[in-house]
Subunit: 303 residues, 2 copies
Amino acid sequence: MSILVVGSLAFDDIETPFGHSPDTLGGSSTYIALSASYFTDKVEMVGVVGADFEDKHFQVLHSRDIDTKGIKKVEEGKTFRWAGRYHYDMNTRDTLDTQLNVFADFDPQVPHEYRKADFVCLGNIDPKLQLRVLDQILQPKLVICDTMNFWIEGQPEELKETLARVDIFIINDSEARLLSGDPNLVKSARIIRAMGPKTLIIKKGEHGALLFTDNGIFVAPAFPLESIYDPTGAGDTFAGGFIGHLARCESITEAEMRKAVLYGSAMASFCVEKFGTEKLCDLDLLEIEDRYESFRDLSKIED
Amino acid sequence: MSILVVGSLAFDDIETPFGHSPDTLGGSSTYIALSASYFTDKVEMVGVVGADFEDKHFQVLHSRDIDTKGIKKVEEGKTFRWAGRYHYDMNTRDTLDTQLNVFADFDPQVPHEYRKADFVCLGNIDPKLQLRVLDQILQPKLVICDTMNFWIEGQPEELKETLARVDIFIINDSEARLLSGDPNLVKSARIIRAMGPKTLIIKKGEHGALLFTDNGIFVAPAFPLESIYDPTGAGDTFAGGFIGHLARCESITEAEMRKAVLYGSAMASFCVEKFGTEKLCDLDLLEIEDRYESFRDLSKIED
């Protein structure tokens, strides 16, 4: 199954208590695509970069067999840049600088050969652009969507229009409370699922994730890691592993959905072990399966 | 197997966004004993109360077949009283008043017939008193201990002396960080287990609990409840269900330990549904098994 990924490509300047990593390849679609690439051999990207996005950066994506024909390079512009600093506890961060650059005028054009994509993963971008992408896809089997507080507060109506056309929606706990207006996550989930997405995933960072479907609630543990070097991109990496596993399933059942959450969690646990996307370029299938099994064991009860 | 429970008996004055419940029977040992009473028929309490602790209060414990011979009644004193108010999100509370009363001079005397207790559950009291209890028990099979930040900060040396004689230690995440001096819970667990307890449970409130043993880590989900009426006593109720399940096992294996964490969680999820101990007086075994199965299903992955 093919996966079309739409979102940002960026250069990040990341400071954590463990070090400083400037000019780090990042962006929501980069993390999603790299993560998904371990599960299916057809990952296609739509995005925009500037002249500073060099061949070596494309090479990172090509080394994982990711199709980059949908990435537009604007020679007279610069790539989106973000700078942030994580606090000691790694759970909170300050954004030090945001330069939208070519991303400010991003108008996603889905190449003709991508329009038959089976799965569409809408990274965290303006909901109007997310809608514009959906208008260009013929008949997707599954649409997955991410967003953030900036769009929930700034464009609630456009976001709701997008959500009406989304199958699986992935947000974090504070975003869920903001969007639903209810502090209780079970009630939040009911309110948000009524907006459109039949399936909702609420990420809780170091406390794991909740999956809400028609069949009930699944609680996925987070991996209790001793060392987290850089949390940047963990949420997008989760989404990539999640959709990646679904794309290789013959049919999408409740059981596969639960496994997909664990695969997403496993990929995210790798992501945070090194700076930026570094760890995501260098995994093999065996260690992914091993990490997945470790996740299963974390909450396993023998009969 | 018999369980000896030592801790406070109290009258609580509880305010939550859902109501106000004055003169509510509470205290750590009350919650532990009531919760454990569903799993084993021999629960013994050691504690102290005042003249205001009437027959009807003893009757609550007797109705669950709890042995109260070890509860000393001081006719010239008043029972320990606590008043608190929960905030809107139910995760934080303010203590409005604490009156130690007869609890200030509590000197636990273990009745002769309790000294052969198989399991000892030391509720959250002065670590010096916890030690004094252990000195009076002949040869306990298993010692479980709870504490709080007040003792970690005020009596670290006495607490460490207690911990050296404890098999299973139960605390919450902020207490684990405080005691270990490390913000990372995996590292905290290693540091704390080196103090004595081979098994450590770190409770994370609405985010579940972590069990650390020689065999690794188990992550237990919390039940995603729509309504929490009163969180008072949830941690003690967890401890009661946990030790209760272990007391009915033929041998204490890793698998039974994991199940015990889920039984503890199930009991705690009942506790918060009504004010004080009300819900804990009125359960049946079938609904406990049902809730336990629901907990298992929360994190179940089909093969």
